[in-house]
């Protein structure tokens, strides 16, 4: 039984005008591209401050990589890495065992996870969790195996209500305009529908 209940909306209000999202993926998985799409969508949606900073120096295919995305109503002057994210996005569930992905995540923070495992098999007591099997969904959408960076945006959108799905879809099709734009946006749409979330 899939639970389609949406998480409590994660709106940017005056109290919460600064959102920090940390992305965890593997070198070559496209976490930076995904973060860039979300960054552009945020900017188009009126957030003047958008900063996306990859961690540097040790990128190689398959190795755990991270990128920071800060979104604010105002220009961002602090480019230092995120220490206390509001949201973490994990493109590969195996990273949970390999890297300290929840490090610094605020209590009540959101974990957006690509996993083939059942939602119920996870227990993050202090955090809210949203999962989808993006790997399978992307193949279903017609993408080559392992292309998950567009799909995960659908799950992020469903879990957080941070940005409009229409703007994100536009951003995905623009970013992938020469590489299967429709299949990528379809993956995000299916992921949006199939995201299991509780919080």
């Amino acid at each position: 039984m899939r639970d389609h209940k949406k998480l409590k909306a994660f709106e940017l209000t005056d109290e919460k005008d600064f959102i920090e999202i940390r992305w965890h993926g593997r070198g070559g998985q496209g976490a930076i591209t995904a973060a860039k799409i979300v960054a552009s969508a945020a900017f188009v949606s009126g957030y003047l401050g958008v900063v996306m900073a990859p961690t540097f120096g040790t990128e190689r295919r398959g190795a755990p990589v991270m990128t920071s995305l800060k979104i604010s109503r105002r220009k961002i002057y602090d480019l230092s890495p995120i220490e206390k994210p509001d949201i973490i996005v994990v493109l590969d569930h195996l990273l949970l065992a390999e890297a300290d992905v929840t490090c610094g995540l605020k209590p009540g923070g959101i974990i957006v996870l690509n996993t083939p495992k059942a939602f119920e098999s996870y227990n993050f007591k202090d955090y809210r969790l949203a999962t989808a099997d993006i790997t399978a969904i992307s193949v279903e959408a017609g993408l080559p195996h392992g292309m998950v960076n567009a799909g995960i945006i659908g799950t992020l959108a469903r879990a957080t209500n941070l940005l409009g799905m229409d703007i994100l879809i536009q951003g995905i099709e623009e970013e992938f305009r020469t590489r299967n734009p429709e299949k990528n946006s379809l993956a995000a749409k299916i992921a949006f529908e199939r995201t299991v979330a509780r919080g």
Partner: protein
Amino acid sequence: MHIIENGNVAAALGVLLCRVNVIAAYPITPQTPLTERLSEYVESGEMQAEYIPVESEHSALAVCIAASSAGARTFTATSANGLLYMHEQVQWAAGARLPIVMCVVNRAVGAPWNVWNDQQDSISQRDTGWIQMYCSDHQQIIDAVIKAYWLAEKVSIPIMVCYDGYILSHTYMPFDVPDQEKVDAFLSPFRPDYALNPDQPANLNTVTLPDVRMDVRGELAHGYMEIRYLLQEEMRTSLTVAAEAEKRFADIFGRGGDPYIEPYLCADAQYIAVGLGSLTYQLRVSVDVLRKEGIKVGVMGVRFYRPFPDEALAEALKGKKGVIVFEKALSYGYEGALVSDLKSALYDHLAGTGVMPMVQNIILGIGGRDIRTEDLTQALRAAAKSRVSRQPVWIGLKL
């Protein structure tokens, strides 16, 4: 048009908009994506320029020197040991008075090997006769490249546009890409007084004796010392020309400000943090925190490091209780280069006036050591309480 891209792309777009004729560069992290992007512009025909791949940084600048001497607008870029390998030609370009623009994507120098950010590379080239500009965000990078060509060609002095490796070069943020028509209105094609021409042969920068002497046409020619004196004089004059560039730029593009310094909450501040590059923007966050605690602090970015805006800095800092200079480089055996220059400026302009601030030096972020905003806030808070040490204080050190 606003786009979201990284700092290297901001620099590349600036070079594209300036209609540079010749690019020669050798890839080095974290500058590589900048030169890759330029080679793509040339390859696709988007940019009408010669891209000359070379086997070293020394050759990259040698190519720019030759092309610039022949009247071409030229560009190169490098980082760290690449800049050091170029050093002989760096000096030559300045002595030859060629308006080359080079981006220095700031990175720590080896040994030991390190690819991350500090500013030892460009600071170590302080005395070469190049103008040095420092950028704090992507808008400043693209704007600085455009201003740099105008200024360099006006004063016949090469310019380094310096920006922090990774922190700016690889980080994505929104910035405005100016319209080509506006850039064309700001920057005319390069027309040097003399360009190498087979129909009018000339010797350039041949052996120049200690004393003046008659040249081949029988005219009294400068000796080496006159030529070098003029470089110094015209470096100083270029401060005024930089102000003109800033004003022209603001008139056409509608943004800009003080050409030399970028103050934040400095007017009523008792303590002012001073630095170069993106660090001074990060310090704004600390200033905001401390202001809420009732501590009157401000921060000032130095946008122009050479020629040194001594008068503007002394004027802005006079009467303050303290100045705290944060540096990602140092002159080994003494202290940070910027703090020495700043103290010299304060002494020159304020000695005996009773409005001389205390000055402290903080060294941080060497070789890419994380600079945590909390640590900056703590360092600034402590420095505003009392002068911590006459020696530079290192923060973030794990000894």
